[in-house]
Assembly symmetry: C2
Homo-oligomer: 422 residues x 2
Amino acid sequence: MQYSEMKREALLEEQVKLLKEFEALKRMNLKLDMSRGKPGADQLDLSMDLLKAVTEKEDCIAENGFDCRNYGVLDGMPECKALFAELLDVPTKNVIIGGTSSLNLMYDYIAQCMAKGVAGEKPWLMQGNVKFICNVPGYDRHFSICEYFGIEMINVPMTDEGVNIEKIRELVKDESVKGMFCVPKYSNPTGVTYTDENVRAIAALQPAAKDFRVVWDNAYIVHDLTDTPDQLLNIFEAAKEFGTEDHFVEFTSTSKISFPGAGVSAIAASDNNIAEIKERLNNETISYDKLNQLRHVRYFKNLDGIKAHMQKHAALIAPKFQAVLDGLEKEFSENRLASWTKPNGGYFISLDTTACSARRVGELCKELGVTLTTVGATYPYGKDPEDKNIRIAPSLPPVAELEKAVEVLCLCIKLATLENLV
Amino acid sequence: MQYSEMKREALLEEQVKLLKEFEALKRMNLKLDMSRGKPGADQLDLSMDLLKAVTEKEDCIAENGFDCRNYGVLDGMPECKALFAELLDVPTKNVIIGGTSSLNLMYDYIAQCMAKGVAGEKPWLMQGNVKFICNVPGYDRHFSICEYFGIEMINVPMTDEGVNIEKIRELVKDESVKGMFCVPKYSNPTGVTYTDENVRAIAALQPAAKDFRVVWDNAYIVHDLTDTPDQLLNIFEAAKEFGTEDHFVEFTSTSKISFPGAGVSAIAASDNNIAEIKERLNNETISYDKLNQLRHVRYFKNLDGIKAHMQKHAALIAPKFQAVLDGLEKEFSENRLASWTKPNGGYFISLDTTACSARRVGELCKELGVTLTTVGATYPYGKDPEDKNIRIAPSLPPVAELEKAVEVLCLCIKLATLENLV
């Protein structure tokens, strides 16, 4: 039954039927949340022993004998740097360990570019209007950093292979285009992993700006949902070929490995960028939380430990993704009222409405007690130019709640579409 | 025996005698460190139970039911805000909890002023040459933040009452003077606590700059060494009288209460400043480490708990301060080759040489294996204009080592003075 092929009377009948369903759901006073990429409580339970990994005095002493209860060691304990070097597949000297939040590290890096500049160039703030490429749909927190600092954002729609490299090649001819944010693996929200060709093309970019920087937010580096995970090309390996290592600053964290807000974050970057970041850090702090670094090293031990742990996460959230995909499939597989991504990892499913306003869908869902990520948030300035994208975050609610929430979402998409057609 | 009253021959004899002592000490291959305000290992042992305060799932749940293992709560858990509100004697709504480092919070605040501006005024970076008053001698980390951002620093020598308010009153008539750093209690390094009159006079300042801000670094707020601790007037109470609450942003942390680099930091500020800081924070991170906040609340419980804990710290470091003071007293009480402060708290003793180069003393100490805080570091740009100040940090070495280190220091001061006189 394609709405586009139905007569007005049939559409009205359908609308009446759905409105009755809507009223019935409304009476249920639902309170369901698919808005943020928060792990479920069962996922958090997986890491509880981490909190017991450093409780005695001897636990606080690092491999090199350093007492991690005291000041010092700006760039992280060697064993923690080694763990992240293995995770990020870079030399240990190119790693800096941060606090609990990689978002904080990214913000700090952009702040550094704004107020101090990059590679000896003038601070971005002193260069007049500076611009960032925003691959859309994308992560709202990246866009808000740009907005806060007054960086003009240019939308470039993502493709199935990653970023739209042709458009980006054109844009970087403009010297005022200073960089972009990328989530190269299981991109937020589309779940796309950049192909090797796409990564190589990004590495090969020759921007006009001498202070061009890509924030390579590898947030979902080991966040696989299937036994056939996506493989991401190492950006620094790719960049080596083109001598563009300085263009990239990579970030990751254990927020969705151990505990969001109580994990460990890290930077990987070229020698030049590490030096500039350390110069700043040297003025910013004395050291990050080394006891928390030790907790993570003691608990995970190495990359294999992290990978084994991530399989437990996958076992808990893969069924949630499946519940959403099943619900969408059931309602939309034949009528083309929506299209959506089927990611192999990460935290999101990206849905595009095809014949109705996503914003209207958000309003209707809200009426039924289902909270979606604010519609529009996946675009700079909160403005989805086609008003079609909805980010679904399935990780937090239990499967039964998710099934209900997807039922509501599908109903609202149909109703919003009918409002357009009738 | 006053060197100034001795004849050349007597001076030479004294010099020969001291050089022999110097050579004897050199053969001991000492390795003593009085350079940084690091707590001793015995002090760190005091807080070990804090690391056991949050290990089970139920420990992670806040009083309001929030699961602190997950994302959220930007400005800190209510019970942690309440603890710091009690400590700082301000309303809870005027508190923001940070990460492990108050230095980091201060840096971030200055970075915010540089790149975003204050109270609707242009960013400091866009206002041409901006200046900060630096109360000297002072904390090198404050000065390096200014230096990093290119803020011009103006030395204003401290007095026994606090800051030199007459000089400051003159300086703030210049619109480009944007603020100053203050360590109002047990000032680093002089140990001076600002008198009530001094605090009131600072609160009463009417600077030309509309975006004038004082970083009120209350690092040693409960770090008393005696039973008759200094009392500091609450800056916000004082400011209320003059309507200048917005001029002050206060910082503190548990770095020297629990663990340096693994404690909890906090900001106290006016409603206006809190709003500006939260706007930035909202772009900078999702939340700081709430599990560590809970560890601290569970362990210390309240201000009384913190105070009782600080008495244990005092019992460990007061004898160290005494050892330094005794050593100095023994050598210099009558000959006036140096003057020094006798603080009731904090982490430092400030020594001024009277007839020799402090830098030369540092060189001689280094030859004997005694590391002092880099001489000059207590002044902006590392330049002590009179080359006389030495910051002594007695907390880290055991008493026996300290006694030796002070013996070395005194010998080097005498030798450096003789080099000048002979």
